[in-house]
Amino acid sequence: MTAEIADAARRAEALDTGRSFIVQAPAGSGKTALLTQRFLALLSRVESPEEVVAITFTRKAAGEMRNRIIEALTMATGEAPTKLYEQTLWQLGRKVLEQDRRLEWNLLANPNRLRVQTIDSLCAGLSKRMPVLSSLGGQPQISDESDHLYRLAARRTLLQLGEGAAGEALGVLLADLDNNIGQLERLLAGMLQNRDQWLRLLMQHDRARMRDSLEEGLRLLVRSELDAMAASMPGALLERMVRLARFAAAHLPDKSRTAPVSDWLERSTLPTSDPDDMHAWQGLANLVLTNSGTGLRRRITVNEGFPPDHREEKAEMQSLLADLEEEDAVVSKLDAVRHLPEPGYSEEQWTRLESLYGVLVHAVLELQLAFAERGEVDHVEVMQRALQALGEEDDPTDLALMMDYHIRHLLVDEFQDTSHGQYRLLRKLTAGWEPGDGRTLFCVGDPMQSIYRFREADVGLYLQARQHGIGDIRLEALNLSVNFRSTATLIDWVNRTFAVTFPEMEQPVSGAVTYAPSVAHHPPEPSDRIHFHATLDDDRDAEASAICELVRQTLADYPLEKIAILARAKSHLAEILPALRKAGIPYQAVDIESLAHHQVVRDLTALTRALLHPADRIAWLSLLRAPWCGLDNADLLAVARAAGDQPLRALLRAPATIANLSEEGLSRFTRIREVLHERLREARRQPLAKLIESTWLALGGPALLREAAEIEAAERFFETLSEQEKGGDLEDFTVLEEALEKLFAPPDPESDGKVQVMTMHKSKGLEFDTVILPGLGRTPRNDTEQLLNWSYFPDEDGNEQLVMAPIRETGADKEAIQTYIRLLERTKQQHEDMRLLYVAATRARKRLHMFGSAKIRTGNETPQPPAQSLLARLWPAVGQAFDNLEEQTTEVPDTPEPAQPPFLRRVISGWKPPAPSAIAWPQQAKLAEQEMAPEFLWAGTTARHVGTVVHRYLEWIATSGISNWSAERVTDYRNRIASALQALGVTQHLLPDATDKVILGLSNSLEDSRGRWILTDHDGARCEYALTARAPGGIRRMVIDRTFIDEDETRWIIDYKTGSHEGGSLDGFLAQEAERYSAQLDAYRDALRQLEEREIRIALYFPLMKAWKELDIPSA
């Protein structure tokens, strides 16, 4: 390691805690280290650690940075390290520890005070602490996956069809979509998911202002294009064009009067970038470009405004055209100008936008309702609410009051992938900050690595922030350049290649970023290699086998190193993964293979569906054909025919034989039938996942799998099922299947991770010795359709601007605005593709292999890459690899023999799966669990409350001395009794009756001689006597209502029963009651026998009936 780092001075400057910066940190430049250092530097200057907030892109990154900070602090508790780069950290850490001691932070013991978090968690925190300002009321559950809610809201919106204004608007939309309800539902759901992009505009303005602001967006776009146009046009050239345009306009034949160039008839000034001059520019373009294609005119005739008798002008025109041949930039700009839309909407367009607007507003309201019902929201909502809670930029919420601390320093990682919503959040968090007031903002990122457009990232924001700052804060730009990852060989190649392929000029609107070269820290190594494997006519199988061979060779040459295969899209790996498997090369596929397509998961899904739905015939048959049962076609047919139209489940209890079922088939069927039959008997007595798992195990499912990875996949299935199920059932099977579709098979536990396969996006931030980029010549799937075409871009103040156009009617012509927006989006995408390549290529430490295929189109000599492929972006740098390629492609692809249709793989008949045994532990004697028969449901509560009050009063009477009591006194207590009953919950209209009952019971007891005897203060008398006794398998607690020793030295145990009965014989009733309670009273008696030796008698007393029933009367 060399001592001095080339950009050391800039790195040191970044630690200046008094200034705000925006840092460009290219691949491999050690940006996390820099962030950590700055975080530490800031910590040592604040009053409480919560004042420094770092925002990262992922939870993983937050964890990593936090850990680095803690490690630095821990290191700082020890001696100074010897390594140079650790010394800076150590010193910074020391300072923090001083501050920590001084202010008693105790950071090392309480690292949760460090605020390193994702933007999502920051927003969640803000909105949680401000339930009123955010109008949330309280933190809902935040889910990563809310598709079902978008769909629900979309569906509910559709139910308004035909009702009121929104209904009519829906009709308009629907007609545009050929009345395809399903599609409209999907599109609406998609719009809701992306609502942070359009919502602010749509919800907050009145319609006139909305139109103004949208048209303002259009004007800005046009202006920006015209700016670029004007900038690329040499003044002299422009003057010549204007002169000729005026001439041509004046000499156009009548039939060409409508040509754009005729705009110059009335005009003489040079055009500017004012949108009003757009037509003038288009006129100029019309002058020199052919009407249809993009090329310069070749023929100049009277139709273009140059009559044959005006030789001179015609010659001048020809020389102009000749000169333009050399001015590619001008020509392409002129061409672009021709496609610019009018900077305003026609009434018809506007009507359609408005009707869409109405629908969307409605859909958003439905979504809010759905959120409220489920108590669940998405991240977009949380951010919206946090933004709301923060107040307006000119009137921000006093965070200190709400959160108990200030934010004084903000650090933002991956700033190039900021979305407009996040940007707004930053502006609000820093509202009111002034330069030099001690508060700072520190944004780090690499515009060359902005690749999250599909998550609303807009690299234009980075560019704007660098030029103009954020809000009132100016940011000083710092560029890092040293790459600590790759060898010089690679860096050289990267520098050379991307300097050519990146845009020459920065343009925030279209996300054009220029290239900033890196400086290698590592010298070149002899084993370094960069190779482009060029082929023609995309033969995927050939590419897959070439890659396999390359991987095999690399593994052999460099057994200790890591290889990554990085694809632009998962589908580009479809041939490569099977090839790797076939070649026996273990690999880890990171989030590539969807769980739903694993056969084991399909089997488990079928098992689930079958157990839940008797009439799901496909699932039931699948169970029978799966390896654990393995009925062949003939047996399957026999079983299916035996069931007829009825559910197959009916066969579980069918007779022992089934017509036409072979003997072996019968034994196979019988085994599974037994297992399923007993499962179904026990269905819904256990969690669904448990039921399915135990069935699977009982069938021996895992014994029939081949790879450990399949068991992992099964485990994920059970986890998913467990999340989805409710009450042992599923409301919607498709939801489970969709969830599985979105999950990925876990990496193969048997792979050592030497070979990894993932998407380019997923590889961000990682590094590998060898990187292989397959399929660069392929085109990704078309953009999914939207209800609206829109595009966002930042204006000079970093304010987001939006342009939008409605979808076209099915089959109708495209509209200019819409076409233009699509074009703009395509340009943005091409710029992003460039960056994606940069990210992928810079993952490599030593070796980079690229595979790409081009095509020779009819009429063309040389091969060309498909326009939207990554190869097209790379073409200027690698195109020469395709020269003279024809011979190489003659390599005969070994014609694969026609694949055999698959065979049925199944368990040998008669196999028994293993059964697990119980653990050795002396189970305690347990009362056998008896199944209980249902009994009556509801007896009302009042009777019980009457009983409670009677019990309490009888206790009071007995303990306070019966002599103090009389029926009159009880009647006088009517109000007390009523309020006691009411407090227990007796409702008003039942209260008089209940009170009467209590009074009756009490006065009965006081009047009845038996009652008086019971309540009299005897020897050993107790009320509510609580005893505990040992019982089999534990202890038993009991409470005896009343007990005493009577004059005959006999102990009485008496239980009060406040029931009463109407009709029938009293004796019969009492006998029944005796029967019912005898076990309980027996237990009381047994318990008391342990405490004293005495005759014990047991009885029930019924105060409401003045009745008495002794149980188990001694025969003597």
Binding site: P131, V132, D404, L577, H613, I618, E931
Partner: protein
Amino acid sequence: MESTITAAELETVALDDMLARLDEQALVLTVNKRLAAWLHRRHADLQAADVWETPHILAWNGWLLSLHDQLLTTGRETARLLTNHQESLIWEKIADGWNHAQGREALLRPAAAAAAAADAWKLLHGWRIDPRELTSYPSPESRLLANWFDEFKLLCAQNGWLSAAELPALILKNIDEQAVPLPLNLFLAGFDELTPGQEHLLAHMAAAGCRIAQIDNARPEAAATRCCCHDNRDEIRRAAYWARDRLQANPQYRIGIVIPQLARLRKDVERHFHAALHPEALTAASHSVSDIFNISLGTPLADEPMVQDALLFLDLLRSQKMSLGQIGQLLRSRFLGDYETEWACRSLLDRRLRETEPPEMTTGRLLQVLSTGAGSNAARCPDLGKRLEKTISLQHQKEHAPEDRAAEIAALLETAGWPGKRSLDSREYQCRQHLIGLLEDLAHLDPIGKGMSFSDAVLHLRKLARQTLFQPQGNSDAPIQISGPLEAAGQDFDALWVMNMDDDNWPSRADPNPLLPPGLQRAHGLPHTSGEREMLYAATLTQRMLQSAPEVIFSFPAMDGERELRPSPLISHYPLIEQETGETDFARSMLGSAPVETVNCNTAPPVTSDDIPRGGSGLISDQAACPFRAFANYRLGTRKLEEAELGFDARVRGTLMHRCLELFWNEVRSSDELASLGEEGRHTLVSECIDQAFGENRRDPGLEQGYLELERSRLQRLLTRWLETIELQRAPFTVAGLEEDIELELEGLELKLRADRIDTLEDGRQIVIDYKSGRPFTPDWESERLGEPQLPLYTLSNNRQTAGALLAFINGRETRFSGLVEEKSLVPGNNSLLYKGDWDALLTQWKTSLHALAAEVMQGYAAIDPVDPARSCRYCGLQSLCRIDESESGFQLEENDDS
């Protein structure tokens, strides 16, 4: 009298000493019920006798309640103590009222705000803070809170209610007035910290002559260790196997497992502990409650299967309509009526509804289909139908007292045949009792007003069921006790494992009450206010846990998803141990152990005379696309379980279009007639046909009338365009056949075909036409495995010379013919239709191919061999049956870019 007693000032007694000395005059108050139960058991262990008088050991809150009961009985106090449910209902009413007045600024979740307010109310009382302090913190949150407090106080005063938070003050007053009995000795157990309210109350008890001591059962600090696990799941697994090993070595052990994140991890905990401790149950059909471990945390009663279905049924009665998915759940529910005898028709009906009904159904329609079936020959479910009918008639529409609503709901459930005919196991029995308990709670929700609508009653019941945690009894004594750190307070163990000790969770992040101003909370040291507070709290608990068992293991996960975690600083100094489970779980242990064979499955038995598959062109087309698919669909009788869609699905739209065209050509029998009809005539006739077709349609799109209007005008548009741009431009023809049913015998198969239309040309040759409403494609009619064979099939049965076979694509995107014709002139302007080869040879080739395909069917050829895996399999739906993914070629990756 502003005296307090702090925990530190209390004298301490050793636990067992205290238990030995317990008498009638002593009272033990515990921090929670769990500890009280444990102390009772511990006390029992010390008894020599088999029966003894139950000592007074109860939880703090339970004691306050029992005192209040006494005060009520004697009439000293009359205020009605609100139950939790009642109180939260009142707060929610307040929140709802406030919310309604807010308009656009209304809260998304007023109930959450109500809960926070209720919590704030408790905190202020527990910490004896004057609510007027709120005014010094002028935030919208504190203003709202002050406002709601006022309203709550007013409501309580007006109605004579007492909130639980105010109970201690009321008891305190009665202590001062000597109106409640006090014990001579009071022992406190398990209080890690006392609230100011508790301290205050204790001081008054002391003043009244009560001797107060604190139980100390701390052991000497254990030699603790720590264990680094891979992730939460691994942590749980290791703890489970560790507990199992300890227990097997020492059957008498009492083992504690403390899981701070228990609420989040409960499902996993249950699953892994069950697997480790009851391996025999892994393959068992039934699932019983473990007697070896007990989890302190219950699950919402609403999630119990039988309660869930009961609530679902009530929801149906409440909202009068329901999604098909939920109706399916009811139809599959074994807790309703006579499921045992009716399950087959119920499930068939569910399948049928998915095919014919819109995504949402009304109760009325459901009742109808239950008793008469949906569409033709569909299953009926008389039992369920009768029950539903009766329940509907039992429902009271008007307002009703809550008590009566409870009775009504009970009656409705009983009528619905809930909880079914299967006898209940113990868990289900308890569950049912709990639901009855909830009905009581519902009956007691009267403070909010006199009447309750049925709808509100059901919603309240659902809410109660969600809030009530259900925990089946029977194993509270189990040797392995799994709980959160608070529930473990005060108990001791022979061995203790503490999970989730990573520095993200322990100490946890501050989580103050969201409505109370943070400044106020910090000033009073309310719980969870700040990082510092959490730190102290976690340290106290850690210390307590260290002293509650001779062996203590702290574990932490190294990863949370992709994020790396570190051990909590509170435990990071303990020595690291490897607590490997050394255990392959059961599933892994049997991986690949079964002997397998592979069998050729390309054929099925040949078709026999009693088993001739019935079908039309679909059979041949399936056989061509993938022989196995034809076998499954036509001989095994597979049918996809549909998902209902909003609006007309493609099939219904297709039928409507076919019918319109049929009606139209019935009137207009030739190209001449069409031409002479004129524009207006065409328009009128088309619209009449549409009227008639829609009039005949019985399918409910599930959408308002406006949708039907849109569908009509779309059809009008399409048909007009079709007639103008295509039919009017064709060579002269007369219509020879419309929707003609044709039976075709092919190699023994009897195919039922329907020719949409047959036109006869001037020279007598014919053109067969098939209408299509989907996206246009070019049929694959030149290969051996014919795609879209219906028209080629028809040519076999046609005696006249066929001059063309055309698919008529009529949809919003495109309107055109696709197919093949013998001569260009037959369809002017569309050269792509012309067949370049020998027409007669083509017809012969079709014949050969079709016969070959039919012969395949008859012979039982059923290979899993899709013509084009990407396309054939995509909408097939048989993947789980044919197992195509298992084979080499079946590897599928979704075309899904990015992410």
